[in-house]
Subunit: 131 residues, 2 copies
Amino acid sequence: MNPLFHELFQKSRYLTNEINLTLKKHNLYASQWTVLYCIQKHGEMSLTQIWKYLNVEAPTITRTVYRLVELGWVDIRPGKDRREKIVHLSEKASQDFQTIKDSIFEFENRMVAGLTKEEEAIFIELLRKIK
Amino acid sequence: MNPLFHELFQKSRYLTNEINLTLKKHNLYASQWTVLYCIQKHGEMSLTQIWKYLNVEAPTITRTVYRLVELGWVDIRPGKDRREKIVHLSEKASQDFQTIKDSIFEFENRMVAGLTKEEEAIFIELLRKIK
DNA sequence: AAAATATATTTAGCTAAGTAAATATATTTC
DNA sequence: GAAATATATTTACTTAGCTAAATATATTTT
């Protein structure tokens, strides 16, 4: 395999594992946090809005959101369109949000500490050229 | 989330999906191909050699290799150390290998067509700085 | 040689992605 | 307004990674 792809996949796996480790103290997994973050940013969202925004398939979001409901991080209410379900952060999630966001922020900064701001920009640019 | 991480995860997912699409005509999945490629390259390998080389956990390789046995891509024989299992390509896999390798090669080149060789090198270098 | 430790693999169970097809409700077309 | 089509969500099942703990065989220590 082209080393570029090999390295990219390895790093992606490494980073999700490290994020999971960081989130462990908050009893969250990476994908769960991604959904929480996305909902917090947009106020409240339907399932469809979430999966379209995150660019994953619908069943993935159904599953993750229902797990988040079970764990008490989000609540679901019906929308005006009776097909759709609107997801919003629970009281608990709203309270804990900033603390969790801070640990993730700290983690992310640690991971890119070896890159200058310019290199970060170049990296993203190159990443976008792979398609 | 830092856009760098967001883009990296998205691209990683996009690429595995595209590789799966490319491999579909050969009735293979990305991770199965990765294992086949690795075995072909090294002649034959024990399970431990495979997972250490690919940098994943042992149970992941156990599962993938046994699926490959079921599908007729690899065979397993005992090693001299009676704990270990040696995996090698089947007749079928050896025959089809070059064709599959060619489609993957074609796919990879298409994906990096937007980058110069120099940019590829820079990309890998930056990727390695994230840690 | 027996006990302790190490290594190779497996089992069980979790998150996380995917596809294909089913179900329920809305919207559009005839 | 009924039929056809579209949209939102769910269900069932697959690959693909992970951790923790079990099992079997080797190696080292005592």
